[in-house]
Amino acid sequence: MSPPPATEASSLRMIGTMTFGGLASGLLLVGVFEFTKPIIAANDAAALERAVFDVLPGTTQMGPVVLRDGALALGGDGTDQEDLPTIYLGRDTNGAITGYAIPYQGTGFQDVIKLIYGYQPAGGVVVGMQILDSKETPGLGDKIFKDKAFAANFEALAVQPEIVPVPNGSKTEAHQVDCITGATISSKAVVKIINAGNAEWLGLLPPGDPWAAESPPEQVPVGVLDGPQDEPAEPPLEQAPPPSQAPPSQEASP
């Protein structure tokens, strides 16, 4: 066993060692960071896509929609997209809008709850909700993401005039949510978060489909060059079977 060197090192040696150590560490970290960056980005994108597809049934493609200068715009490859409030637009295989997936968060019982929910403008209903992050009490509050019956509340939930939480089993109206027995506060928190999200975003959502012209190439409707407000051939909100000029990638009947 040899003890560390007992001689006093010069200041130059100390500074030199620390600088060298710092540089070596920095280089290694840059390398690992760059190596893992694309993988992490891909993971995040896949997770987001899964969540959006989950809360907007029937969605096969999605894209970000950002709030820029008080108005909504499609988020493309804009570099300023990262800091802007973002929601997600879902489309089905025909290019019709399935709805908007709105991520939102708020205080729960224990800590902040992060969720994403799907809103369908045509019916004025929430069509799906998924909890992204919660630290609620295991066995009680965590039922907000474990209880299938609670999740079913959000499959056709009217948002007018406002979503209202009611005691378990007493739901009679379309805009009510059955709370989980024993986890009332967590359930009410979820409702409150969605109401807040609606208050912030629903007024900004455009009627119809102003971005139909910018939908993916194979969905380009006839006459797109005539103007941006072009509606696709079939009514945008009907989940009708694909018409004859539909892209070759259509799937066989389910």
């Binding site: 560390p4 060692t17 690992v32 893992t36």
Partner: protein, 216 residues
């Protein structure tokens, strides 16, 4: 001084970390992650693996460079080395297993202040050859992981009715939820340490009894 074969010596360094000088049960180090990530067995194993990566890597480097690091800046140097390894495993885990990374959360980064790691650098790795330092690091990490797994398994079985995510008792089992909450962690670890203290007392009593019988 007589030198037993270096392999035997290395093995001895490895084994001591498992039981006799177990970082959690004997040295009472690394309590923060011990309690925080043992709410499930999977998290416990993941934390054990991450700590092993950091401890073995740091011990290796510190021992390798032990004659080149000036004494006055050694703690800062150790910290930079440890923090680098922690950052590396943080990014690697985030890329390879994002779900586990999210479960462990900030505690991966908190490995850097695990007194166990800095302690081993100061007490051992800086004073021994690379082979011994790595053996010691492996032993300590294994002991730490063993302790994590013990507590994690018990807490998950009692608190969730499952082990490694596999439900053990079926859907009618009413889990003892407090076990996966903070109070359960504290109390369970206390009971485990109590058990170890009892084992030690028994061993001492037996040694005392056999000593009293004389050396026939």
């Amino acid at each position: 001084m007589s030198a037993p074969t270096s392999s035997a010596q290395a093995y001895a360094e490895f084994v001591k970390g498992l039981w006799k000088e177990n970082p959690v049960f004997v040295q009472v180090l690394g309590m923060c992650p011990m309690l925080a990530v043992t709410n499930s067995a999977v998290n416990a194993v993941a934390m054990g693996a991450a700590t092993l990566f950091v401890l073995v890597g740091s011990s290796f480097l510190v021992s390798l460079l032990r004659n080149h690091i000036p004494k006055q800046v050694r703690i800062s140097a150790y910290i930079i080395i440890i923090a680098t390894f922690v950052t590396v495993i943080d990014y690697l885990l985030k890329a390879a297993a994002p779900d586990i990374h999210r479960e462990l959360g900030a505690f991966i980064a908190l490995i850097v202040v695990n007194c166990l790691i800095l302690g081993r650098q100061e007490a051992f790795a800086s004073r021994n050859t690379v082979k011994m330092a790595v053996a010691d690091a492996l032993g300590m990490s294994a002991g730490f992981a063993f302790a994590l797994l013990c507590l994690g398994s018990v807490r998950e079985i009692l608190g969730s009715g499952s082990l490694f995510g596999v439900s053990l008792f079926g859907p009618n089992f009413e889990p003892w939820v407090v076990m996966i909450l903070p109070p359960g962690g504290f109390i369970m670890l206390g009971l485990i340490l109590l058990f170890f203290a009892w084992l030690q007392e028994r061993a001492k009593a037996r040694r005392g009894a056999s000593a009293a019988q004389g050396g026939a």
